[in-house]
Symmetry: C2
Subunit: 398 residues, 2 copies
Amino acid sequence: MPKLNENYQNLKESYLFAEIAHRVADYTEKNPDKKVIRLGIGDVTLPVGSLAIQGLHEGVDAMASSETFMGYGPEQGYAFLREAISGYYAKNGVDVSAADIFISDGAKCDTGNIAELFSADNVILIPDPVYPVYVDSNIMSGKKVTYIDANADNNFLPLPDPSVHADIIYICSPNNPTGAAYNREQLKIWVDYALANEAVILYDAAYECFISDPEIPHSIYAIEGAKKCAIEFCSLSKTAGFTGTRCAYTIVPRDLVFTASNGEEMSLHAMWNRRQSTKFNGTSYIVQKGAAAVFTEEGMRQCHENISYYKENARIIAETLTRKNIRFFGGVNSPYIWLECPNGMESWAFFDYLLNEIQVVGTPGAGFGENGRNFFRLTSFGNRENTIEAMERFEKLI
Amino acid sequence: MPKLNENYQNLKESYLFAEIAHRVADYTEKNPDKKVIRLGIGDVTLPVGSLAIQGLHEGVDAMASSETFMGYGPEQGYAFLREAISGYYAKNGVDVSAADIFISDGAKCDTGNIAELFSADNVILIPDPVYPVYVDSNIMSGKKVTYIDANADNNFLPLPDPSVHADIIYICSPNNPTGAAYNREQLKIWVDYALANEAVILYDAAYECFISDPEIPHSIYAIEGAKKCAIEFCSLSKTAGFTGTRCAYTIVPRDLVFTASNGEEMSLHAMWNRRQSTKFNGTSYIVQKGAAAVFTEEGMRQCHENISYYKENARIIAETLTRKNIRFFGGVNSPYIWLECPNGMESWAFFDYLLNEIQVVGTPGAGFGENGRNFFRLTSFGNRENTIEAMERFEKLI
């Protein structure tokens, strides 16, 4: 009989979005006349920009004739896209070589699969609350996770304890779910800590396009020394509305070399390259053509038109909460607003309260970890009218 | 310092296609006037059919407006595509439930990632020669591989030794690289063996669309009992020319339930679902729209137009080899022709001989395992004129 990977038995059932869907369905069945407004799920709603659409169509057209047909592409992605991304970093003042960039079909895949490169005997530091993929991918491969508290006391931006050692550190900034974003000085503390501990930072920058504050870096590589200690994940999901189109990229600097137990040097870049060459066959050419259009000047301008729309939604939500004296995090350099449930309410109770009283759906913080128990996530990805209406209802209720 | 996954040190460098490219480049530099014909790499060359192209364009168009925009889709794939695939199986007389089908972006990913579901202490049976992903993905996760000899004596279709136990069995039929395909009776022997051993068969059917012999099943599930012992991988890469477009599917029957060491039952379907939900975010909606068009009657007719073209190439190659009294396998229910190097030549020597004498590039069998040492793979994916010219040159030379 096959011996199964019993680490899967240690996974918690992932009830969060299923439970939300269940409660909403239950409510709407009993109250078919009520208009429910969903500000819960982190998915975009605006269409993809016209330039990216054109790039996607061109990609499809190429497949239609022998002369332009594209078969297997490089597992690492096409040079035209890797170079376009390198150019995008350069515009943000960050030097990233195209050779260090791996194109993929999702940051979720890459942040999950990266755990394969490490053995089980590492001290792995993950913030709580957290995007569940970091935790689950480690549990699946038999690794033990150590949590670092993100809470209101540290503005949901924990810094390392120099007396505690870590080997692998997950950071998501701007953060999902809390919307908090590290500034340059704080990131430098993390990089210095990682260098001192010879640790690796796994840096999820999927929401970097929402950053407007110049003090907040768009990339960990804006910090000196980061190429010696950090892998960065980024995605077009939120930047370009590619959640259903699927394109992401991961940067694994060639400087990330560590000594194995037999004394040989092992390069994380070479390992990731081997991992991707073996278990991945490249991102769709069609999608890469669309993605390349995103990184043109006009393509990026179109993206920022959508991002501004979402940021205005975030501003409307934040303003309402401020007026109501409700403490919250995020909402400025992030599409997420992480608010403290009023009167010490638990997050699921607050979920039910909002659903029943004003038919607004958000995400209970408890779904992201212990420290989310009394918090609640709203997203700015809804449309303007619904966001305004939800906040009007909220203002009347609270 | 992070402890890296040192199993990667046990991987052999994958020189095969790099070495081929290197030798060809070297030759063409020295002989710029010679026309090199490539019958080596397993990539298609004909364009995608017009119906699939239309589906892809429709998918792109959907992304362009708010009303039809598609964000995150189900990690398992859209119901419209899962049902279309279930219908495709039904047409082949095989009952596969849409609920057991997982859509992905590649059979390479799925055949590689599936190793995650098993622990290190399994007897894993892999044929030699073999598609290298099966071996490498197991080595990466610290598993030991046992080889079963595929050779001319068994027509490259090894059958199980009932006295030897296995837990996990890799079968690729029609086979890459040998082109050999198991008939119903032979597959039944494997299924019966797996059931008797409570083993799991990982069945790679990526080349099923090349089968024309009615005695050769298109799916392992054509064999009674297979749903209790087999996972099947399939792909649109060769069926629909999707090597650069990327779409595949994997069937994990809900009947595949095994007992864990603590006595609890674990379902491979539930594990794969959890794996994909955690580390994958669904296949591009655009690509799924194109794939759905492939499974319409007219879409499949267009695919078979291309497949017939390739099969005619295979016939031309096979005919030449037959005339020359060169022993070969495949070429009928497969795009691959696996020939014995004449005069006991080693495969790399034969590679150099063909390159230098007639400028025809194939793939040395040694790249696929020990048993390929004296064999050579030609593919039917070239264009007609080149295939004919290559065989004319071959006929003169040998």
